[in-house]
Symmetry: C2
Subunit: 338 residues, 2 copies
Amino acid sequence: MSQALQVAVVGAAGLIGRAILELLAERQFPATRVLALDEAGYEGETVSYGNLELDVRPLDEVSFDNIDLAFFVAGSDVTRQLAPQARAAGTAVVDFSAAFRLDAQVPFIVPRINGASLADAADAPLVSVPNCTVTPLAVALHALSAHGLRRVTVSTYQSVSGTGQAALEALADQTTALFGQREVETSVYPKRIAFNLLPKIGDVLEDGASSEEQSVIDEVRRLLGLPSLTVEATCVRVPVFFGHAWAVHVALERPLEIDRARKLLAANGIHVVDDPKREDGFATPMEVAGSDRIWVSRVRATADGLAFWLTADNVRVGAALNCVEVAETLLKAGKLPS
Amino acid sequence: MSQALQVAVVGAAGLIGRAILELLAERQFPATRVLALDEAGYEGETVSYGNLELDVRPLDEVSFDNIDLAFFVAGSDVTRQLAPQARAAGTAVVDFSAAFRLDAQVPFIVPRINGASLADAADAPLVSVPNCTVTPLAVALHALSAHGLRRVTVSTYQSVSGTGQAALEALADQTTALFGQREVETSVYPKRIAFNLLPKIGDVLEDGASSEEQSVIDEVRRLLGLPSLTVEATCVRVPVFFGHAWAVHVALERPLEIDRARKLLAANGIHVVDDPKREDGFATPMEVAGSDRIWVSRVRATADGLAFWLTADNVRVGAALNCVEVAETLLKAGKLPS
């Protein structure tokens, strides 16, 4: 890793952009220069990159001419608008938006699952990465896939940080308003989130699924290379600041003992915290916030497979870490400009 | 309903006991005298019955000799200890505890599902009713059962009121402690519940299910008369004060159109709030708290059945209302002492 790269983070002022900058510094990604870019409105703000504070610069001033690698974490519209410019300038792009996730021409990567396939990628490629609700789930399913996935039914418990900074403030404001007998305002979500549950994330599509649920279905299938896998999802926003969770029920082709399942999960880098004898022998979003690991608990047998509880920091593990691991994989595979 | 009955509520100081007293008054249950009973420790407390305030009297002073009907909502130990005395005195018992739920000799009743079977009950019977996590779910499944239930996978989002008054206080205290930079104390639950999720309700049993999950599996099967129905459950405590919710995925033998499913649910007394075109066209625990209805939203097709979101006031609809409806059914069937 003797390369010295110029790196841009598009969407640097958001929660995921900030986490990418943290991880690049922590993991000593070989960047000689890091640009923090975002849409208008963040003038004067700074973001941390290791010990440095970077000014957030407006997107419309940027040229990708000298940028080797750009992370796009500012939503599909920004990706659609600017990724072509970056590509034309020879910049490798790691795109967290939904823009190319279902585009068969674009590699769709979680390194722990299919990172090896980047060996076949073009130089300085565009790589799409999954929704933060998908990556930890797909990693866990991948760990079990040798036993033949037949059906996946998942219900999510998604923290407000998945929506962004404004949603963190909404949950805090609404909570203090309720305790202070002030009127509760709703802005980010259509109904109150404090001490409540919102069983719809994104828009409802023609067939009744929400866009978040459809994203889980489509992206899990594509990542696992199982286009006809039965995946059922209910996605729910819960009044938690950081950390998503998933109640997962899986039907398998071939029997799998619980202890063996725990070992397979652990062998795939998952932190298994599962002691039924202890009153507190399970993981919760509180513990996973800030952690770089995917945590599994409550592994148990069902009629035709198993069920388990999954939880992970949605901002870090669900989004930022995977983006950075894609960049590291590209670097190792010699796919970044040199 | 010209009868005039003496009624006791055993566990009257708890959330469910109080709700039963409210409902008895609201629904003008023909009681000439109502006794509010509870374990030691509530001396001097009163509970509301319509416009009256009743003193909570200690259980160890009570005789069931003149009591026609007793509601038991104080847990299995109290039921096991005192229900035999009540039965010996000829008192009809509606038992909300787990003591007799799986006892084939004891009727296990949700009137909207199997109330007609009480016509065959003994006079002044002992009747067991389900866990509050079961009743609304079972009513919804019953509405769809003509289409042949093949498999039910449910993940719950259970409010702290299901644990009782102390848990309401714990959630409030922990929340204000976090905002006030005070140390968070855990007492009722093994980990913090404020802004967190606890994926274990009750103890974990030998096979890995929690006692709450096993209760959902066993009681749904018994209520629906489908002892070998595949039921999978993950039960999770969420930081909500009132109102449980369920993400339900059902496989059916025979196809069921979504509109027809909504009609079947509505025909069974369920309030269907399901407008995919509206940003807020779904029900949340916030709205169901204090309501006597079961609410369904997000009905949609899956590969072999359908999925939906269910929410209901766990204290009222999940527990107290069902107890009172059992008593009303016994009254109509002429099974109460006269």
